[in-house]
């Protein structure tokens, strides 16, 4: 897998690099570990600030090799750094891990973004679990996003507790949840109960929560959550109402379907797929201030 990824990432890079940039980067990829690490740090001195746009075919291929992984809209420096990491010789575990740890320990913000983006590509995945949960604790927005969004590492390796923290922090900070790989699949009863408590606190403060968060509740409706759905159906926000309708529709939970039947117009738009979760996937919400 890693070899395929390494060459595909290079192919994407090569489409975007000047001849001088490409030759510098290629040389560093073949260099000794210490030189490679220095190149990882110094990359912005040699690579321009440009954004990468992989082709549709490249995106498909990337997803086939490593589902959920995406380099869409990455800067060249970030992609170059991740590619460099994929060149690092991992034969000797101790040495390999020491090098990566050093990069983490001394990283500035954009280096952290590259390191966390690269987690699904690194050897010895268990080794990086603490780092990964630490990124969720980070209050630097871009660092959180590097681990949480379009990154399959948490889905495969996080415990339920760590997963729930990742999702809750995303909700708390209005992150685009739909970009979390495996969001609905890893939803669980505990997460949904916490979400309900959280929503109640928000409502008590005269605030609200992003409508799409309720998709987490679909498989876990109980009395409390059903009450929450009633609250949403009665909300003045159309999006809240649609969210409640979608949850009920997808739940296959008899009391929820009965509740939905009380709102024939909403029942119709979800039954006919005129409204799907995709309609509620907002990327720039501020639930502390205004409704969308």
């Amino acid at each position: 897998m890693l070899e395929q990824l390494n060459s595909l990432l290079w192919e994407i890079l090569d489409d975007h690099l000047t001849v001088a940039e490409a030759s510098w980067l290629q040389e560093q990829g073949n260099a000794t570990p210490l030189e490679l690490m220095t190149a990882f740090v110094a990359a912005p001195r040699f690579l321009a600030k440009r954004t990468t746009k992989p082709t549709v075919a490249q995106n498909i291929e990337l997803n086939e090799i490593l589902e959920g992984f995406s380099v869409e809209d990455w800067g060249i420096v970030r992609l170059g750094r991740v590619w460099l990491l994929s060149c690092l010789d991992s034969t000797h575990r101790e040495e390999y891990c020491r090098h990566i740890e050093t990069l983490f320990d001394t990283a500035e913000m954009n280096e952290l973004v590259a390191l966390y983006s690269a987690l699904p590509l690194l050897a010895y995945p268990d080794q990086w679990l603490f780092r990964a949960t630490d990124a969720v604790r980070s209050n630097m927005g871009v660092v959180y996003e590097a681990i949480a969004l379009r990154n399959p590492y948490p889905y495969h390796h996080f415990s339920e507790l760590a997963w729930n923290q990742l999702v809750l922090k995303g909700i708390f900070n209005d992150k685009p949840l739909h970009l979390i790989y495996g969001l609905e699949e890893r939803s669980n009863e505990k997460l949904v109960l916490t979400l309900s408590d959280f929503a109640h606190e928000r409502w008590a403060a005269g605030r609200w929560v992003a409508p799409q968060v309720w998709r987490l509740a679909t498989r876990f409706l109980n009395e409390t959550l059903l009450d929450d759905m009633k609250h949403l159906f009665e909300s003045s926000s159309e999006y809240d109402q649609q969210a409640a309708a979608l949850v009920c529709y997808h739940s296959n939970h008899e009391p929820a379907l009965q509740l939905l039947a009380n709102y024939p117009h909403l029942q119709k738009v979800v039954n006919t797929h005129h409204i799907t979760w995709a309609n509620l996937e907002f990327s720039d919400l501020n639930t502390y201030v205004s409704k969308p």
């Binding site: 220095t38 001195r45 280096e111 871009v142």
Partner: protein, 340 residues
């Protein structure tokens, strides 16, 4: 730039009629800040780790669009390598992020400060990790380094760091000592020249009336710190710009954990304006010269802040952070009793 100086002569300022600069006791910042409306400022020396979000808001509001945070002594002597490492990391990490939340572009210089150079066993270890930081994005120099007590250890690490700067092709930001300043400044410059460093790559900081001439004559950049009591006052600064012109002179606040003022630059700009210093000269000493000096690092792209730093929505963070829950940095909010 010499032409600018001639312009000063052609446009006699207030000084030629009176020895005193404008210095009414009722000069208030609020009633004069409109004089610099629309001006942009660059503070090439300020220690934001010691400052609050109120300061960031006030700075942005006063027109400061970018700053340089030199690595310095944090007041409490460090006892281990890890605290140095975490400090350097915060200069390129957390503090850079914090600044971005207020729309101010944050750069830094990295170095072993002169005070802590005296702890030789620790200094040795710090020297080993410096290269890991010097090549980082947004690191615009080696600094602040130089002399404090002017000990042998200080000289040793000053020299070693000059070599690092040469290798990394970075400017040098020199801290000149509080005590025995004149001799310390001369010695710092002589050593830099001895190491073959081009003086146009060296910013000599904390100058005063006694040091400035020699610094400029030898081709170095002369930085002035507007800092109450121990360094320059901005009234004296106005006289210096009037006397020497704006070439290779820059003003900074060096605001830190002591009584200091993060608005030192905009306030000095107001005072220069009141005293008839030309707008172009003000622009040079409060903005452009610092950019020209530190841009030699290749790490400053004025497009990043020239028209205001866009606060990237994706970087906003509402959690346990500075801008919680949809907050917008806004100094005017302070006048209301309501905290929402």
């Amino acid at each position: 730039m010499c032409q600018n100086h001639k312009e000063f002569e052609q446009n006699p300022s207030h000084f030629e009629e009176s020895e005193e600069v404008v210095s009414q006791t009722d000069l208030s910042w609020e009633s004069h800040r409109s004089l610099i409306e629309g001006m942009r400022f660059f503070d090439p020396h300020i220690h934001m780790v010691s400052r609050t979000t109120d300061d960031y808001e006030a700075m942005r509001d006063a027109g400061i669009v970018a700053l340089i945070e030199p690595a310095f002594w944090v007041g409490q002597p460090r006892t281990g390598l890890s605290t140095f490492k975490d400090y350097f990391s915060s200069l390129v990490g957390w503090e850079r992020f914090r600044s971005s939340q207020f729309g101010i572009k944050h750069y830094c210089t990295i170095g072993l400060n002169s005070r802590e150079a005296n702890n030789e066993p620790l200094a040795e270890q710090v020297m080993e990790i410096l290269p890991l930081y010097l090549y980082k994005e947004g690191v615009v120099g080696v600094g602040e380094i130089g002399f404090d007590d002017q000990t042998a250890a200080e000289e040793k690490y000053y020299r070693l760091q000059l070599e690092l700067a040469k290798k990394a092709k970075l400017p040098v930001q020199i801290h000149t000592p509080h005590r025995d300043k004149k001799r310390g400044t001369e010695r710092s410059m002589a050593i830099a020249l001895e190491h073959g460093i081009d003086p146009s790559w060296v910013i000599v900081d904390h100058n005063n009336e006694e040091t400035v001439k020699s610094v400029l004559d030898q081709g170095f950049w002369a930085a002035f710190t507007i800092y109450p009591f121990t360094k320059m006052s901005n009234e004296r600064m106005v006289k210096i710009v009037d006397q020497y012109g704006p070439e290779r002179i820059m003003v900074n606040s060096a605001a830190d954990w002591g009584i200091s003022d993060p608005l030192a630059i905009p306030k000095t700009a107001v005072l220069m304006k009141l005293n008839g210093i030309l707008d172009e000269a003000i622009r040079l000493v409060t903005y452009q010269n610092a950019i020209d000096a530190f841009a030699k690092s290749g790490q400053i792209d004025v497009n990043d802040f020239e028209n205001g730093l866009t606060i990237d929505q994706s970087q906003k963070f509402n959690g346990n952070t500075i801008l919680r829950g949809g907050q917008e940095p806004d100094a005017k909010k302070k006048n209301t009793l309501l905290i929402k």
